[in-house]
Amino acid sequence: MAFLLFFAKLRDVMSPIIKLLLEGGSLTTAQMGQVLNLPEAEVNRQIDQLKKDHILLGWRPVLNLADEETGVVRAVIEVRITPERGGGFNRLADRISRFDEVESCYLMSGGYDLLVFVSGTSLQRVAAFVSEKLSTIEGVLSTATHFLLRSYKEQGFLLDVQAEENSRLKVAP
């Protein structure tokens, strides 16, 4: 439900399918069809259209990468870049975003321009990406790299939360 709060203003214009997807119930398209009283084929068609319209970009599981054994090192990099005439920040941001190491890339207000989330198999690999690939791009003025030490919440899911036994009464007036 938390994600829906973020999209509160959009709720009225969101398609029912997007609302169901955001509610996070992991329903199959057949089940979504049952809930919305639509044939499964229509659900699939609407999902395909959302993808074509670039509203639904894709699905990815949200993983808990906190375990040391996963071998994933993550960092957040503040990047200052030179805006270009006719293109602003877009060309450089697009070029940086295309690296596989980059999970997310955002244009920000404030003391830097781009906020870039990267991941790699080791600290050295992430550092090498920053020094050899990112910083060397023409137009990148500076980078400030912050390594992620611990995650408490990922994409709306709390980590380190013990699954609680359902404490609701089975029948209540």
């Binding site: 829906l4 709060l5 709720r11 809930v35 609701r168 089975k170």
Partner: protein, 392 residues
């Protein structure tokens, strides 16, 4: 030693709750999909919980004014004015209570003389009739019917009225039927109440969960504020059932009377719940709307499923209950509910737990996840099919 001889007669004579009997059977079974839980499946939104944690950290552990925190009463006034069109003075027309349950209890205790008659529509919430009995009042039930989608009609009120009726208890939208009244019907009820000089106690706990049309609060009609006690709370709209926090609004003299009872029995509602309630009213609207949207979709699904299965079910305009008829199965509601539980491990509460007009119906609460509702629908369908097979 037989201690039962000390129990007051009116308590001994109070019938056991039909819900409690059913609960005890369900509690012994495993892997039951329960459509019998009359509370939101959502946890209270975090920002509301966090407000209570913050209050605790700040040392807010003491009594408040009997009437409740003035900040909460001011927030209630603004909320009720904005959403119901009624303005109540925070100083003396609003009383914060331990849930709407306490508000109802103290309203009856403040208003009902022994022998006073109290009208209430049924099927209804399990507490209304016993609460009237516990204050030595006389309960006068008013039937509602599926043909009216369980709306309360003026005709039914006129037919049920008796000399000596003093109060009219309303619960719209209604637990268990989901029935509610449109503006014309509310106006007709108001006209009846004025003609018969009845005081209205209006429990509007499900009002935010109105899915189509407007919710009309009877106290908002001209001349009705002075003869209505408006009861509301946070349990359903803000998923705060366990916090036990509600409020009563009404004419100052009536609130004062209720306050007299409240101050001696409760002192005040929990300060932590009150602090959380302030947060809910100030910043909880979006979360509430999000929950309501989800209930709306679930309602559409489950009502459609009941009708597909052959259990005729009206579309409840409010609350999170569906009230399908089991008449087509040829079984009584208790027999059906117990048979469904035994055969398919789905719990629905027999309608007679809510009054005699619940005969032939079961209550299904759709405040549960889609996967549970989908599975429950399939199991109910299987059970109904098995009944048809047996009857051939």
């Amino acid at each position: 030693m037989d201690t039962t001889r000390y129990i007051a007669k009116h308590v001994i004579n109070l019938p056991r709750s039909g819900i409690r009997d059913f609960f005890e059977i369900v509690a012994k079974m495993k892997d039951v999909i329960s459509l019998g839980i009359g509370e939101p499946d959502f946890d209270t939104p975090w920002h509301i919980r966090e407000a209570a944690i913050y209050a605790l950290e700040k040392g807010k552990t003491h009594y408040t004014s009997n009437l409740g925190l003035i900040e909460l009463r001011r927030a209630i006034n603004r909320y009720v004015e904005k959403n119901f069109g009624i303005s109540y003075r925070p100083e003396d027309e609003i009383l914060v209570t331990v849930g709407v349950s306490e508000a109802l209890d103290i309203a009856f205790r403040a208003l009902v003389n022994p022998g006073d008659k109290v009208m209430f529509h049924q099927p209804c919430y399990v507490s209304y009739h016993p609460s009237i009995t516990l204050t030595h009042g006389v309960a006068v039930p008013v039937p509602t019917y599926a043909k009216d989608n369980f709306a309360l009609t003026a005709e039914a009120l006129v037919a049920a009225w008796q000399p000596g009726c003093k109060l009219l208890m309303l619960n719209l939208p209604c637990n268990p039927t989901g029935g509610t009244c449109n503006r014309a019907q509310i106006e007709a009820i108001a006209k009846f109440a004025v003609e018969k000089d009845l005081l209205i106690i209006s429990d509007e706990i499900y009002s935010e969960l109105t899915f189509e049309g407007e919710h009309v609060s009877i106290a908002s009609l001209p001349g009705m504020k002075e003869r209505t006690i408006f009861l509301h709370g946070f349990s359903k709209a803000f998923a705060m059932t366990g916090w036990r926090i509600g409020y009563a609004c009404g004419p100052a003299a009536l609130v004062e009377a209720m306050m007299k009872v409240h101050q001696y029995s409760m002192m005040c509602a929990s300060i932590l719940s009150q602090e959380a309630a302030v947060e809910a009213l100030l910043r909880g609207e979006e979360g509430m709307k999000s929950m309501r949207d989800q209930y709306h979709r679930r309602r559409d699904f489950i009502v459609r499923r009941f009708n597909e299965i052959g259990l005729k079910c009206h579309l409840p305009r409010g609350s999170f209950y569906a009230f399908p008829s089991v008449e087509t199965t040829g079984m009584g509601e208790k027999e059906f509910a117990l048979g469904l539980l035994e055969a398919e491990r789905v719990a629905m509460v027999p309608g007679t737990a809510f009054g005699t007009n619940g005969t032939g119906f079961c209550r299904a609460c759709f405040a549960t996840g889609y996967d549970q509702l989908i599975e429950a629908g399939d199991r109910i369908e299987r059970y109904v099919q098995s009944l048809k097979t047996k009857s051939r």
